[in-house]
């Protein structure tokens, strides 16, 4: 390889649906040009579960709905120079955050879990318990946007953002000349 080293990108899906990672692949042939400039470190795309070395850009999909999400997000902040929140869930909580606004009782999380696992009309749960295996991460009191947990440097809006938008934003970010979005390209849906 000649010239500068390849820039390292790490990605993760927290409380998201993996749609933003699908959108990442949706760049189609643009991915070939991008891969000449970057390599992926920790990412579901490489199946690497830990950082091998510091990454230049960390891409976050999804907000934080459990304690594992928070730990992973903090790990990304420690190991990435620039953090990019990809998609509405990372930016503002997205669909998982629907539970924030409906949970205004005295014990909202318990009510939510009981309806999901015990009392809901379509539930067939022979144990009649909310799953509480120690390996399950603890669910947080509400869903947090990634910027509520760590400092986020940039956001790419959309649900999911288009492959073209992700590509163009990443390329300009990596070249150090990202100056915001064309208003015509911004979508929250």
């Amino acid at each position: 390889m000649t010239g500068a080293r390849k820039l390292r990108i790490a990605t993760v899906s927290l409380a998201g649906c993996f749609g933003c990672h699908m959108a990442l692949l949706d760049m189609d042939e643009l991915l070939i040009g991008l891969m000449e400039k970057v390599e992926f470190d920790r990412s579901p795309l490489t199946d690497m579960k830990t950082f091998t070395r510091r990454a230049d850009v960390g891409i976050i999909e999804g907000g934080c709905c459990n304690e594992e999400n928070v730990h992973v997000l903090q790990d990304f902040r420690r190991n990435c120079d620039v953090l990019v929140a990809l998609g509405q869930c990372a930016i503002m909580g997205g669909l998982p955050a629907m539970r924030n606004a409906i949970m205004h009782s005295d014990d909202p999380l318990r009510e939510c879990l009981e309806e999901a696992y015990i009392s809901g009309p379509y539930i067939r749960n022979t144990t009649h318990h909310v799953p509480n295996d120690p390996v399950l991460p603890l669910v947080l009191d509400r869903v947090y946007a990634s910027s509520e947990v760590v400092r986020i440097d940039h956001q790419i809006p959309g649900c999911a953002p288009s492959g073209r938008l992700i590509h163009d934003t990443l390329v300009s970010l990596l070249a150090g000349r990202f100056h915001g979005f064309d208003p015509h390209s911004i979508r929250f849906d």
């Binding site: 929140a85 509405q88 629907m98 924030n100 606004a101 509400r142 956001q155 915001g180 979508r187």
Partner: protein
């Protein structure tokens, strides 16, 4: 007309007639000033302040401030743009605006305003996440007040155009909300044919007409193809 005069917006000379507001004259000249609570055909309110401009150095709502001869108006300065963006962002944070699940997405003026003003930076404001009711009592109309931005367009449309008064403001200050004039919408004289219930009056996804939600798919809606205000800007091209 002999009593016509001129003033300037961002250095551009704009013709006006006595009695015209800054916004009316700007619209006629093809200059778009962002607004949410103002709508063509409704009485001006000056409530949302998104149309704030500097007129002669003072911050005023362009939708209510009369134009005056020789007035110098600043609209698209970095400072005013940033304040408008913050205002719109705070409206997002004050209610529950989950664009990915909202059937108004793509037709929503609040969302389109966020696009136009470039609301894409990581936020500095807390999410209030209020608990507000959904009123689906009416057979043809549903109200999801989680998305209401209290612009009052439905109030003015119902009072002034429909002559009904289905909606009104209740409460003061931060607690001021738009409410239905009755126990619920089904117990008012609201009809889906009212101007107040038409898709152009509610700027967000609060007043919903049942049964039409996704007849136009996401991606093919009003603001998927053009910026908000572009039709006004195109008037003089």
């Amino acid at each position: 007309m002999s009593d016509a005069f001129a003033f300037t917006i961002d250095g551009v000379e704009v013709p006006a007639r006595p009695g015209q507001t800054i916004m009316e004259a700007a619209d006629a000249a093809g200059i778009y000033i962002p607004r949410l609570c103002d709508h063509e055909g409704l009485r001006h309110q000056g409530g949302c302040r998104v149309c704030t401009v500097k007129a002669g150095g003072r911050s005023v709502a362009a939708c209510t401030q009369p134009a005056a001869p020789g007035l110098t108006v600043d609209s698209e300065t970095l400072h005013i743009q940033a304040m408008r963006r913050d205002l719109v962002e705070m409206l997002f944070h004050e209610g529950n605006h989950l664009c990915p699940i909202c059937e108004a997405s793509g037709n929503c003026e609040l969302q389109a305003m966020a696009y136009r003003l470039g609301m894409t930076e990581p936020t500095r404001f807390p999410w209030l996440e209020p608990c507000r009711p959904v009123d689906a009592s009416h057979p043809d109309i549903a109200l999801d007040t989680n998305r209401c931005i209290s612009c009052g367009r439905c109030i003015r449309a119902s009072q002034d155009v429909d002559g009904k008064g289905v909606f009104g403001y209740v409460g003061r200050g931060i607690h001021r909300r738009v409410a239905v004039n009755g126990p619920d919408l089904a117990h008012t004289d609201a009809a889906v044919t009212d101007f107040a219930m038409s898709d152009e009056v509610c700027p967000v996804g609060c007043i919903l007409r049942k049964g039409v939600g996704f007849s136009v798919p996401i991606g093919e809606r009003d603001f998927d193809h053009k910026l908000i205000g572009q039709d006004i800007e195109d008037r003089h091209k």
